[in-house]
């Protein structure tokens, strides 16, 4: 009991430190979730992509293309100088710029292709979408021109515009509910928060009790080493759960209503398991790093590094298969993966949730492994210092 009380005292003295880091992380997650849109999802096309249309031809053809694009993208005006174009892309006023060259109509009628210039922010699905719809329209137009020799441009344009509106009807097997991914994003970002705050904080207790003098005093005391260690574990667990509950509280404040169902329950359980994982990483790190700065360093490195690799900030589907294969060795990968699976659950059943439980199980395995290795290292160290 005395030991436990001592742990509480240590924690409360260092509370400021813990709370600052926690505050920063939570602040970031709030901002992240309030701004984030699901536009990094694979295959997602942003039909509201901002596009600038610079017409150097001013012909019926170039005006026709603009009309065609009007309701498919968000057309914006920009300063049409070279510098204006550079600025527009740099500050993301638009993400795609179309430049119709002079003489476009004339070459089109002659059957030559004078290419339309494009500049985009970076290769993205939305950019490919814009390129595709313009190409499709122009190809239809060209086909009509080749097929119907005597038609005038206006009539050709009309035919092409009608033609490209022909689409096939798509049915989905089940209602693919356009569920907002807000809650999922919030919990995925929480991986960074959880890792960063817990790894740094958990090390505090361990480092203090690993201090040579304190360790020696404890060794000759009446308390059994096993009891001491158990109490330390308990104290660390309490600290972890304390930090975890603060994080959950904030998530609840942001998304309260959405969480009151089976999905919310899964998210919360998943995050608790992951917190235990973070605890084990913190414990593992504290066995070989004893300075406060060192622990903070490791906490930041592990938290940020594994967050990037395991798809917390950039979805892993975009990062690629190679990264995914490396990421599987990190516990946060299984956490993020579980969050994705929870999000795509359509109903609650033991069958559907099997995979989620497997993910949680893997996280627990990671925790056990890290704790075991940590214990071995600690034991080796104490043996070494004894001999």
């Amino acid at each position: 009991m005395t030991v436990f009380k001592a742990c509480i005292k240590i924690c409360s003295r260092n509370l400021g430190d813990i709370l600052i880091m926690l505050g920063v992380f939570i602040g970031m997650s709030l901002l992240f979730s309030s701004y984030s849109s699901d536009n990094s999802k694979e295959g997602y096309v942003n039909a509201n992509i901002k596009v600038a249309y610079i017409d150097n031809d001013n012909s019926i053809l170039s005006k026709g293309i603009k009309t065609y694009l009007k309701d498919k993208v968000q057309l914006k005006d920009i300063v049409e100088t070279d510098e204006g174009i550079q600025d527009a892309l740099f500050y993301r006023i638009v993400e795609y710029i179309i430049i119709i060259p002079e003489g476009f109509l004339d070459s089109f009628i002659k059957g030559e292709i004078k290419e339309i210039e494009k500049r985009e922010v970076a290769e993205s699905f939305s950019g490919i979408y814009v390129s595709n719809i313009i190409n499709n329209f122009m190809n239809s137009l060209d086909l009509y021109k080749t097929g119907i020799k005597n038609d005038d441009m206006e009539s050709l344009l009309k035919k092409a515009m009608e033609n490209v509106e022909i689409k096939s009807e798509v049915e989905f097997l089940q209602e693919v509910k356009k569920e907002k991914a807000d809650l999922k994003q919030q919990f995925i970002f929480a991986a960074y928060t959880i890792m960063g705050s817990i790894i740094a904080s958990v090390g505090t207790l361990a480092a203090i009790f690993n201090n040579k003098e304190i360790k020696r005093r404890n060794k000759i005391s009446a308390i059994r080493p096993t009891s001491l260690n158990l109490i330390l574990v308990l104290a660390n667990l309490c600290l972890t759960i304390f930090i975890w509950s603060i994080i959950m509280m904030f998530v609840y404040l942001m998304h309260g209503k959405e969480m009151l169902n089976y999905k919310g329950g899964f998210y919360v359980l998943n995050s608790l398991v992951f917190s235990i994982d973070a605890l084990s990483i913190g414990f593992f790190a504290s066995t070989f790093v004893s300075s406060a700065n060192g622990r903070s360093a490791i906490a930041n490195t592990v938290a940020l590094g594994s967050s990037f690799l395991t798809g917390v900030f950039v979805p892993i589907s975009i990062l690629g298969e190679n990264v995914r294969n490396v990421a599987r060795f990190l516990p946060s990968y299984w956490y993020v993966d579980a969050c994705e699976k929870i999000h795509s659950l359509t109903s609650f059943s033991l069958n559907n949730s099997k995979e989620i439980f497997i993910n949680m199980g893997i996280q627990i395995l990671f925790a056990l492994a890290l704790v075991s290795v940590g214990l071995v290292i600690a034991r080796q160290k104490s043996l070494a210092s004894n001999s």
Binding site: V24, F32, L89, M138, N139, S140, S296, G305, F308, E321
Partner: protein, 387 residues
């Protein structure tokens, strides 16, 4: 005396290995992770064939032309892949098709309904589904177009039209003018560099701590000496800046030459940015330390938290954060030190002129000078009478 203090302070830094390690190693690890994580995005992945189930029932024959085109772009299940193949199709009945879709053995199901309309059934939205849908749409459009042309030409199709039908022309081309398009990946490395510069706050922090007698023993001794505090401060501050400069340049060289990230070719200005950025970091740390009368650990926590938060706002975790802020609260981008550094590098890379860059570097120099003099002012007030 100045030289003495400077040299000894430099020696001090060279000996505190853990400190230097942390300042140097974390950015290097992080940028290496970026490179690993993002290399997947840059690599060209081969096109994967798309599995499709075609429902062969009584309505199938009404769309003979469509399926002829589809067959041209496909192979049957188990057949060898030809050039230009996009799909692997199976002709099955409706029930089997749906079951294949459920089990995700096919990406989509194509069927003809009782009104002879071609329809698609999907289970989810992703790249294969988008490609499939596009293909069906375009094929339908072409068939319709050909029918139109045939009607106009009294039931015949001109020869050049038929030839043109199977060709798809590219009308869009990347603009050759202007330097580069904004990149999606490179800014991450610039933010990593900004983070490195801002981690210099820890150096600045310790500069001040080692000058405040209520914070460190070393400072108590220093305050007893007959040397003016200002001289000591300048000398050791210079040593701190030099150390930080060396660290940042090592990281910069690593990112530029080992990871091969493009910074453009305006080397002198890149060096200037790096120097100003590093000094700004150290000065901000000194200001923080002089401003808040809290324990060393909490100061570290604040400086790390502040750095990560600034980098977050500059787009380190989610690159769209910067642009969101630009639209909602642009002033933040103008005073965020991490953003100023990141943007400086980015402007040097992207723009040809210097006007945009000048704004940034001026702000950075301004912040540095203000922070420096504020620190001095705060230090001056702390005088110790002879006790």
């Amino acid at each position: 005396m100045f030289r003495h203090i400077f040299l000894y302070r430099m020696r001090y830094y060279l000996r505190t290995k853990a400190f230097i390690f942390w300042l140097l190693l974390f950015p290097i690890i992080l940028s290496s992770l970026f490179k690993v994580a993002f290399s997947g995005i840059l690599s060209e992945e081969g096109f994967e064939l798309i599995d499709v189930a075609v429902v062969q029932d009584e309505n199938y024959d009404s769309q003979e032309k469509f399926f002829e085109v589809l067959d041209n772009m496909s192979v049957k299940l188990g057949e060898e892949v030809k050039e230009d193949t996009m799909f692997v199709i199976q002709h099955v009945d409706e029930k089997t098709a749906i079951s294949l879709l459920e089990k995700k053995k096919v990406s989509g199901v194509i069927y003809v309904d009782s009104d002879s309309e071609i329809k698609i059934k999907l289970k989810e939205n992703g790249i294969p589904q988008t490609i499939l849908k596009e293909f069906v749409d375009i094929t339908k459009q072409k068939i319709d177009l050909a029918t139109d042309v045939a009607i106009e030409n009294n039931g015949e199709l001109p020869v050049d039209f038929v030839e043109r039908l199977s060709v798809s022309k590219e009308f869009m081309q990347d603009s050759l003018k202007g330097r580069k398009n904004p990149d999606a990946i490179i800014p991450f490395f610039y933010t990593a560099l900004a983070m490195t510069c801002l981690y210099g706050m820890m150096v600045g922090l310790y500069e001040i701590i080692d000058l405040q007698p209520n914070m460190s023993d070393f400072a108590i001794r220093i305050s007893l000496t007959p040397i003016s505090k200002m001289k000591v401060f300048f000398a050791s501050f210079l040593a701190g800046c030099t150390t930080q400069l060396v660290i940042v340049f090592i990281v910069l060289s690593y990112i530029m030459f080992v990871l091969n990230i493009d910074f453009g070719d305006r080397y002198l200005l890149i060096i200037l940015t790096t120097i100003v950025g590093s000094i700004m970091g150290v000065t901000l740390g000194a200001l923080l330390s002089a401003l808040f009368k809290v324990s060393e650990r909490i100061k570290m926590g604040i400086s790390i938290g502040f750095t990560m938060f600034c980098c977050f706002l500059a787009g380190m975790m989610d690159s769209s954060m910067k642009y969101n802020i630009m639209q909602t609260a642009p002033i933040i981008n103008k005073i965020n030190p991490a953003n100023l550094i990141t943007d400086s590098y980015y402007k040097l890379y992207y723009y040809e002129g210097i006007s945009h860059y000048i704004n940034n570097i001026t702000s950075m120099i301004f912040i540095t000078i203000v922070a420096f003099f504020a620190t001095l002012a705060l230090l001056r007030r702390q005088k110790y009478d002879s006790i």
